[in-house]
């Protein structure tokens, strides 16, 4: 597709279950970011990928959160043993420029709304 695609659009899970959220960036975009947006809040940075490596994981809130990227393309964010406070919208963005480039421009997906019951 032409834009950043995220799936599923909505996910309802039970407390304690594991979930996987997927992000398909725009083809050729080397930089990929994951964010969390809790209700009534702005975006909270989680992790940054450049290619397949993650030079900045500083935003991951706990060791229950992990992410990987394969083939310099698709990325998966995994949340293990979900808790109710994990309920949020998880947004992904990609960019053709590396992080911090002067001409940096981010393209966002529509996010996954995660609800933990």
């Amino acid at each position: 597709g032409a834009g950043v695609s995220q799936s599923p659009s909505n996910k309802v899970t039970e407390k304690g279950k594991d979930v996987e959220l997927r992000c398909d960036p725009i083809s050729g975009h080397t930089a990929l970011y994951w964010y969390r947006q809790s209700l009534g809040q702005g975006l909270e940075f989680l992790i940054y990928f450049q290619g397949n490596s993650a030079p900045d994981k500083s935003g991951l809130p706990s060791d229950r959160f992990s992410a990987e990227r394969t083939g310099g393309s698709v990325s998966t964010l995994t949340i293990q043993r979900t808790q109710q406070e994990d309920s949020a919208v998880y947004l992904c963005a990609s960019s053709p420029q590396p992080r911090g480039a002067l001409n940096e421009k981010l393209f966002f997906g529509s996010g996954t709304q995660l609800s933990v019951l």
């Binding site: 009534g40 702005g42 940075f45 940054y48 947004l91 992080r99 940096e104 529509s110």
Partner: protein, 117 residues
């Protein structure tokens, strides 16, 4: 640490009228950038406008303009000739100039704007 404050949780405006959204920030950095992002119901974050702190001239993008008051640390967004498609959450965001990235912005909590027909 930098903080961004949006004091108006919700605002409404009549179609074709002008509305101003407020944003203040706090930083000890001398070199930085400020942004306004729009998040419609589709949840995609869309960059509206960007301002470099070293530039005295206020940024404009078609119907969108900012009033950047560096000494007061104020960065308001003016939307002229409001359109129904402007209905969205609007987020003000800060980025350090050195070592900063749009991938790691500091966001305010947002203002929900409703444009009424």
């Amino acid at each position: 640490a930098q903080t961004v404050t949006q004091s108006q949780p919700e605002m409404s405006v009549q179609e074709a009228e002008t509305v101003t959204l407020s944003c203040t920030y706090d930083t000890s950095e001398s070199n930085y950038y400020l942004f306004w992002y729009k998040q419609p119901p589709s949840r995609q974050m869309i960059l509206v406008i960007r301002q470099e702190a070293y530039k005295q001239q206020n940024a404009t993008e078609n119907r969108f303009s900012v009033n950047f008051q560096k000494a007061a640390k104020s960065f308001s967004l003016k939307i002229s000739d409001s359109q129904l498609g402007d209905t969205a959450m609007y987020f003000c965001a800060f980025m350090k100039g050195i070592g900063g990235s749009q991938g790691n912005l500091i966001f305010g909590k947002g203002t929900k704007l409703s444009v009424k027909p």
